[in-house]
Point group: C2
Chain length 449, copies 2
């Protein structure tokens, strides 16, 4: 028998949506509602443990949005649900996204209640993007926002992604590497992700390799001869005994030029100091120390605080699914239809109506001083898609996301660079015009209608 | 320009691995190490907030494992890294998994320090599966284990998945639905996931649909006429005013036969009681109440505790990435090579060596009384792959995973059915033979070698 394919082909992504998007589309179609609408993508609250999020994934989302098509096979499957008319399905077969998408550049720090994408198109085009765009943007934003914290905690020391096995499936494992590259990681163990998204491949060895040999020394020798300059994993039996065996190996076979040792268990700070002392005493200050073992930004900060002589951090489990904050409560809200601003009346929720523009202010030192959310004007939000095509300008910008993160980190106020989420207090103000519009629509709705 | 594809084709999955797997393979190949090895997949600790995990995803992992191939394009990309010899790459082009995989049936509750898969093959075949198998099995196991808690909390009321937008990318969103089906969910909003994995599609409407209309009543009327028996979302402006409009609509257009109302904000228990009273007083006891809005198992349990008259729960954000426990710290450990049991000496860690068998004992009421981990004998672990081919028997078993979960839940001791993780205290014992083998290998390793 031929098992079903695992992979979700790009061509099938039109069906990767919530059912109500399609039933609403048919209702809009039946009612003749085809005016332009604006949907705004934002989050109401930062996830616990975050002072900012790095916007990421908009480029992928836009590329897909502009390529979504329903083919005959999709229409047939939808017909099988019994929910859709033939005439509607015929119309759906010709569905294209021909609208505009405005966005912050990828890699921009973003805060609560700021639109970081706005989609403007005939309502049936903008509505259908909701589920898929949220799924795609959330993944990369969540992973980049975790990874940048790890990078900040490492204070310039390289961080390498070892998390493929903890990531949520195939797509997360591959696109996640793109988010990690944007966030500033130095390398990844993930072969396909690294090759596809241009992050250098890194790797050491596993305990299984040591255990498959009858003797640790023999395993070190075989591996180091095969890969001069490699990293040897020294904690399988006894870490410091392992380090001594590495030193003996370098005396016996100097041509192996062992590049680093890896510590993967125990008190990493103490073991790093003792291993460093052994290596230095043996005349090997050039051998680096790589540490891994359930590391996160807090543990890295603590290790550097105690001056652990660790040169490279390998991070996996805690970063792979952004365990402390694996989701953002993204909203994709209708804010304008047929030229009229729209607002859901939610007690206690800030949800400014209308199309928006976002301005970021800088202090004298060039750091972010605060943002102002306004009605459309000059851009921080930029057009990512115009009339259904990804803009060339944005294609070029996407390539600079990693560099933009580095520049942005330098411009973050000191309080936002702390790992502790605390009260970040970054000011996001409404412009006078947007404030007035919001107040007008916040007036109690008409209950008599 | 043609953008790169998003999708990861099945054919590319051979490269979805950690780099060290490939460098270790080349080292084994260079050293002529090709004896059979056994790797054991287990977790040392239950994630916080879990009393058991539902094993899930082994079937997908096994299907992929038996189909992994390195094609010319893969080999060329690997050659480009400069790490691999041509002769090794030629050998890798002929690589196949021809070994055996033993597993618990999908949907079986599993506890700490139990192997739930064992892979037995020449070491280069078993080693290479590590990263991908862990990625695949973790995703479905994590999601099924969260979802089954939500199902238990709902005490027989249907639970519907609304989480696609919060899941980690495309593969998680599609295979996640399979895990949800196994865990006992009643339906999903996710069109592609539901169609592919046979979970019924469900959907209501979004706030945007209401807001795109100038009047809520008009939106209800249009949608209900288009979809007789549908669910109307009543909380866009004022929940109880929305319920009254639904009642008026049913008086005005009885043919719409509204099936349910959905509450998506506010005090769901109080609003459900007030909405139920309004509907009953108007002679509509048949109209059901669907509740959503950031629900998890705890909130569902609290709502049912206060006797909220909710008929269906829609669950998304908290279930989509299993937010409270998004990863399991899975291990894939070498436990035997060349017929010799292998053991990493980890202070304080239980990691029994050797190939294993698992026995589950039942009390007089048919509930799980405890497990015994033993050396190979009669099976609870079953052969999933034999000589590189998925066994037909296991194909048949996979189809029954959803039913198996329901049966398993009835057999769980009462303490394990509590939502509170507490001290679960499920006994997992070592058989005398396995205990003796572990003690023998736990003896201090030879430091002189």
């Amino acid at each position: 028998m031929t098992p079903a394919p695992f992979a979700v082909a790009d061509a099938d992504l039109a069906l990767l949506t919530d059912l109500y998007q399609l039933t609403m589309l048919q209702a809009y179609w039946s009612e003749g509602m085809q005016k332009r609408a604006t949907f705004s993508l934002f989050f109401r609250r930062l996830p616990p443990g975050r002072r900012f999020m790095l916007a990421c994934g908009q480029q992928h989302a836009a590329e897909l949005a502009t390529r979504l098509r329903f083919d005959a096979h999709h229409l047939e499957r939808l017909a099988g649900t019994g929910l859709f008319d033939d005439a509607f399905l015929h119309w759906l077969g010709a569905w294209r996204f021909r609208g505009d998408i405005w966005t912050l550049p990828e890699g921009t720090p973003v805060f609560a209640n700021q639109p970081f994408m706005e989609v403007e198109a005939p309502i049936a085009e903008a509505q259908l993007l909701e589920s898929l765009v949220m799924n795609l943007v959330q993944l990369e934003t969540v992973l980049a926002s975790k990874a940048v914290r790890v990078v900040m905690a490492a204070r310039g020391r390289p961080v390498v992604d070892f998390g493929m096995r903890r990531m949520h499936g195939i797509d997360a494992a591959v696109r996640g590497v793109r988010a990690y590259r944007t966030a500033g990681l130095e390398g990844t163990s993930n072969v396909l992700g690294g090759l596809r998204h241009g992050l250098p491949l890194r790797g050491t060895m596993a305990h299984s390799y040591i255990l498959a040999h009858d003797d640790e020394r023999e395993a070190f020798r075989a591996f180091a001869r095969r890969y001069p300059g490699t990293t040897l994993l020294v904690d399988t039996h006894d870490t410091l005994a392992g380090v001594r065996k590495v030193i003996e190996l370098m005396a016996e076979a100097p041509e192996t030029g062992v590049g680093a040792i890896r510590l993967d268990s125990g008190d990493l700070g103490q073991l790093a100091r003792e291993a460093r002392a052994l290596l230095d005493a043996a005349g090997h200050p050039e051998v680096k120390i790589v540490a891994s073992s359930g590391l996160d930004e807090w543990q890295i900060a603590a290790l550097l605080e105690e001056r652990a002589p660790i040169d490279v951090f390998g991070v996996g489990t805690e970063m792979g699914a952004s365990s402390d904050a694996p989701v953002i409560d993204l909203s994709y809200k209708l804010v304008e239809y047929a030229g009229t601003p729209r607002l859901k009346h939610s007690p206690g929720k800030v949800n400014p109506p209308g199309r928006k523009q976002l301005y970021r202010r800088y202090d004298e030192a060039g750091r972010y001083a605060g943002d102002t959310l306004a009605l459309p004007g000059e851009p921080l939000l930029r057009p990512l898609v115009r009339g259904g095509e990804v803009t060339r300008e944005e294609m070029a910008l996407a390539a600079g996301a990693r560099e933009r993160v580095q520049e942005a980190l330098a411009r973050l106020p000191a309080a936002l660079r702390e790992l502790d989420p605390g009260d970040a207090g970054y000011p996001v103000a409404l412009s006078p015009g947007l404030d007035a519009l919001g107040r007008r629509l916040q007036a109690p709705p008409d209950q008599s209608g």
